[in-house]
């Protein structure tokens, strides 16, 4: 035997010589992916890639189906994490040095301004893309057939995205940060409006209690900055990544992305590498599953449509890499031209006028201007609850994986768009021109305004209209489409009005150029 002839020293020498190769081999586990087998191995043997399937359905790779929205949100998150860690090198979370450290990031840190812009815009981009992703999932009925819970996880991720963005907005400790912090603290305090109306504030002051928990005191100060910083870099990200893990894991367990029940590859799909011939390749059509999987009841992917899947390596990975570089390029290009705002140092004596929350909360701020509790807690809570319940109230198992379900769905969506636009603009025009109860009867009890205000009326209308659609079409899916469309449109319109058309003293202006100069 050869080994016997070799002395220990020879073996050691050989090991030294082949050190690099054996390290690379141990690192990569499977070699260069050249065959179907090794490509599959490349996916499931890799810590970072095994979260994805070895094979991917062609439908998933169609840009027109997913629009890449979920992945974009994830990539933006990665970009914010990296840029955020970089900013932490120079940022100092104290009211004495926080503002000047951000100034220094802008002025003397190498590429500091660009990195801060990237962090800011990638973060705010996440809000937009998470919402769009939610819309895509909704309109393709992808919350059905075992994916109900993942939709709920998605709602949690949406809330966390808002929370992280908001807490980051406070950190530069400029006028924008400070007054946004004050506004948010008062939103948190707003249940006081209800307890006051009921006369139970002195027994159970939940509003002030939560406000103090958030601010670390009754007024915004150095304790608040510490808490907001903790939320921004530690608590919220931890929860975000936990829920993100669950979200991804459930996508795999629920059978990957949704696809139509009947799927035919189109000629355009032909460019995918290694599109298997029917019943060809190393995988037979019947996949094998462990006993646990089979015993578990629903296994949505078993034995279905396997001939329309392709290997993830390289097909999926190319698409993902392209999207990642696209995100990075997009964010850096945008950040190159548009700077993240940084106003004067926070001054508790002089409020900004208008003191606005960040733009993604300005829809809420419009509702807040009617009633602090309903706008800040009641209606958003109701909206999120309603969104979370959609998969449990609409269980019709058809049209999964098809945009807008069918022709009727498209019609209903369009109809809801028109109706909601008219009703919201009508309500807004009425409030802006005629005011509300307090303008007419100055002594009207607060409880009445809390219960009856334009925000509540709008939400009530959404519910009634959706029920009417269900009744008319006999389909809960159509009702859901109507409700969701109206939710999206109202978010859009209220945010636009709050951002662009509301000026000092929350007065209405057609454009920012008409704002009185201070």
């Amino acid at each position: 035997m050869n080994e016997l002839k070799q002395s220990g020293i020879d073996v050691f020498k050989h090991n030294i010589k082949s050190l690099l190769g054996s390290f690379a081999g141990s690192f990569l586990r499977s070699g260069k992916p050249t065959s179907d087998k090794s490509r599959a191995a490349a996916m499931f043997n890799n810590f970072f890639l095994h979260v994805q399937g070895v094979k991917t359905h062609i439908n998933t790779l169609r840009p027109t189906y997913t629009l890449g929205l979920g992945l974009i949100s994830f990539f933006l998150l990665i970009i914010t994490v990296i840029s955020g860690v970089l900013l932490m090198v120079y940022y100092s979370p104290s009211i004495e040095h926080g503002y000047t450290s951000v100034k220094d990031i802008n002025y003397v840190v190498f590429a500091g301004k660009l990195i801060r812009n990237v962090h800011k815009w990638a973060g705010e981009g996440m809000i937009i893309f998470v919402l769009l992703h939610m819309a895509r999932v909704f309109y393709t009925s992808s919350y059905k057939q075992g994916r109900e819970f993942n939709w709920v996880v998605g709602i949690v991720l949406l809330i966390l995205t808002f929370g992280i963005n908001l807490s980051g907005y406070m950190l530069p400790w400029d006028q924008l940060s400070y007054w946004a912090l004050v506004i948010v603290a008062n939103i948190i305090q707003s249940p006081k409006e209800i307890t006051d109306s009921l006369g139970i504030t002195k027994f159970f002051d939940v509003g002030v209690f939560s406000k103090e928990l958030f601010l670390g005191g009754l007024t915004a100060g150095k304790e608040s900055l510490t808490r907001v910083y903790l939320l921004h870099i530690m608590l919220l990200p931890i929860f975000l990544f936990i829920f993100l893990g669950v979200h991804f894991w459930r996508i795999r367990k629920d059978g990957g992305l949704t696809k139509p029940d009947v799927f035919e590859p189109k000629p355009i799909d032909a460019g995918l590498a290694a599109l298997p011939e029917k019943r060809g390749g190393i995988f037979p059509t019947n996949k094998t599953y462990g006993l646990m999987e089979l015993a578990h009841g629903r296994t949505p992917v078993v034995d279905r449509d396997v001939e329309n899947t392709v290997l993830s390596w390289p097909n999926l990975l190319i698409a993902e890499a392209a999207l990642f570089v696209l995100c990075l390029a997009g964010v850096i290009a945008y950040s190159f031209f548009i700077d993240a705002p940084l106003k004067e140092l926070a001054n508790p004596m002089i409020p900004e006028n208008p003191a606005k929350a960040p733009w993604y909360f300005l829809g809420l701020q419009e509702l807040l201007s009617y009633s602090a509790f309903m706008g800040g807690v009641g209606l958003p809570g109701l909206a999120l609850l309603g969104l979370a319940l959609i998969p449990y109230l609409d269980k019709e198992p058809y049209h999964v994986g098809i945009w807008f379900s069918n022709k009727q769905g498209k019609r209903i969506a369009l109809e809801s768009l028109v109706v909601s636009t008219i009703v919201i603009i009508g309500l807004l025009a009425f409030v802006i021109n005629f005011g509300w109860f307090r303008n007419w009867w100055p002594n009207v009890p607060q409880m009445l305004i809390t219960l009856i205000n334009p925000g509540n009326i709008w939400v009530g209308f959404m519910i009634v209209w959706s029920l009417y659609v269900i009744k008319r079409t006999g389909s809960t899916r159509m009702g859901a489409i109507a409700l969701f469309t109206m939710f999206l449109i109202s978010f859009l319109i209220y945010t636009y009005v709050g951002t662009e058309l509301r000026g000092p003293n929350w007065d209405f202006f057609w454009s920012k150029s008409q704002w009185p100069i201070h």
Binding site: K103, D104, N315, L326, A329, F336, I350, H518
Partner: protein, 471 residues
């Protein structure tokens, strides 16, 4: 075709990313200040007389120049562009490389004082626009201060006497104007002054948002605001009641003075104060009158109807007034003010004047009191009838003083329920009603005027004295 599509996206976005990263990197390695540092190097090499200097200049490496001022909590990077401030070779260079004018830096070495302590501006910024911060979009509250106001910075460490002795007397002149124009009649400084206007203790370091900038001409900063506000207060703040009586050339002096009123003190190590640093309170009658009264009462010799206050301001130094108003009454008015009018209380707990000062002030005001006393009324000799007094009041007095004696807004007469009237000697009130108040809207009600009998007057006065109890 699908993979080719993705590959194209990958290729194009990779290219875009590469281009933007390169441009961004270029922007980082070639900032504005490097240009100036290169010019500086070039000029030094050209001007150098000996080889050592030339060699030193050639060794200059471009870098952010900063002065770290730990005790002042500042970092000034101005010298990143203003490379030559300390270098005599740059005496004739152009800005920003020019040497600092005068010999100020000899006693104020930049490594101890920095730049922004005197000049303001944003010391941390490394580009001209944001460092000088002239425009509002830079969001910096203290742009570089125009040189005509620069003396306002000196008082952080120096007293007026020292500055004036060296010829920097704008600040002392401004302080003198502040003393003599009656500013403290409405504005408190160091806790002393009237209550109508805003406190001025830290007005020089208030952020821009504190001032309504809407109507300011030119750059919207506090320097322009103060100057224009001293020229015409109502042009900037339409609802302002501020009285101003200064010559155009004096506005800059006053602006310099108020800009020197800053929050926060320099560390002891920096301060060289022996004399006066802010306006002190004089104790002599005439000076007190100038400091506290002159803005409204002017010379005190003529009463006039003031359109901004919407009332007649009495001529408190006119013999006709002094004839009826006795010392006790004037003292009461000065100490407690007149509720419902702009006249504020000047006692130690309010306006901040001590008893001695008030006595000095009154002695000055009453120096022209005629020796002839008004005819005695002898109020105590009458048995008064309140009901009759009320009827007479409602017919004759309510029109100007209001049915409840509230006066003030919308009425010609003053508030009769205020403590000064209510606490006054009825004898004095009766004489006032009988003889009237010359040069105000109050006519004589006695036989020489409206025709009240002394009994009528006594009844009305006794009714007025009960008014504070009426609802």
């Amino acid at each position: 075709m699908r993979n080719r599509f993705f590959l194209w996206i990958l290729f194009l976005s990779g290219a875009v990313l590469f281009v933007f990263t390169l441009i961004a990197a270029y922007r980082e390695i070639a900032p504005e200040w490097k240009r100036y540092q290169a010019q500086y190097k070039e000029q030094i090499i050209k001007l150098a007389k000996d080889d050592a200097t030339k060699k030193k200049a050639k060794e200059l490496v471009p870098a952010v120049q900063q002065i770290y001022l730990g005790t002042l909590n500042r970092i000034d990077r101005c010298m990143s562009c203003h490379m030559g401030v300390e270098n005599p070779m740059m005496a004739n260079a152009k800005l920003p490389l020019k040497q600092h004018s005068g010999d100020y830096l000899k006693n104020h070495p930049p490594d101890k004082f920095g730049c922004t302590v005197c000049h303001y501006g944003q010391g941390r910024a490394t580009n001209k626009k944001e460092a000088h911060a002239a425009t509002r979009d830079t969001h910096w509250d203290f742009p570089t201060i125009p040189l005509k106001y620069i003396q306002s910075s000196c008082t952080q460490c120096h007293d007026y006497e020292m500055l004036s002795a060296k010829g920097y007397d704008n600040i002392a002149k401004g302080a003198k104007l502040f003393m003599e124009k009656g500013c403290r009649g409405c504005h408190k400084l160091n806790g002393i002054g009237g209550a109508l206007g805003k406190k001025l203790d830290v007005v020089g370091s208030q952020p821009i948002a504190y001032f309504p900038m809407r109507f300011v001409e030119g750059d919207r900063n506090t320097y322009n605001w103060h100057k224009q506000h001293f020229t015409d207060p109502r042009a900037l703040v339409p609802e302002s009641e501020m009285k101003i009586n200064v010559k155009p050339e004096e506005t800059d002096l006053l602006a310099t003075y108020v800009l020197s009123l800053r929050a926060g003190e320099m560390p002891k190590d920096y301060r060289r104060i022996k004399g006066t640093q802010t306006v002190e309170k004089p104790d002599e009658g005439e000076a007190l009158y100038r400091m506290f009264c002159i803005a409204c009462h002017t010379t005190g010799k003529d009463s006039y109807f003031d359109e901004i206050f919407n009332r007649t301001i009495p001529a408190i130094m006119k013999p006709a007034f002094l004839k009826t108003a006795d010392e006790k009454y004037i003292k009461k008015v000065v100490e407690d003010g007149r509720a419902g009018t702009q006249m504020t209380s000047w006692k130690a707990t309010a306006g901040g004047l001590t008893g001695v000062e008030i006595n000095n002030l009154i002695a000055y005001i009453t120096k022209d009191r005629p020796s002839a006393k008004p005819e005695r009324f002898d109020f105590a000799g009458f048995k008064t009838d309140l009901k009759r007094g009320e009827e007479l009041y409602n017919i004759r007095c309510a029109l100007c003083h209001g049915k409840k004696g509230q006066g003030g807004e919308g009425f010609l007469g003053l508030n009769l329920r205020n403590p000064v009237v209510q606490g006054a000697d009825p004898e004095f009130l009766a004489i006032t009603v009988r003889d009237g108040r010359s040069e105000t809207s109050m006519p004589p009600f006695g036989k020489k005027g409206v025709g009240f009998t002394d009994r009528d007057i006594a009844d009305v006065v006794s009714y007025v004295k009960t008014m504070s109890k009426k609802k």
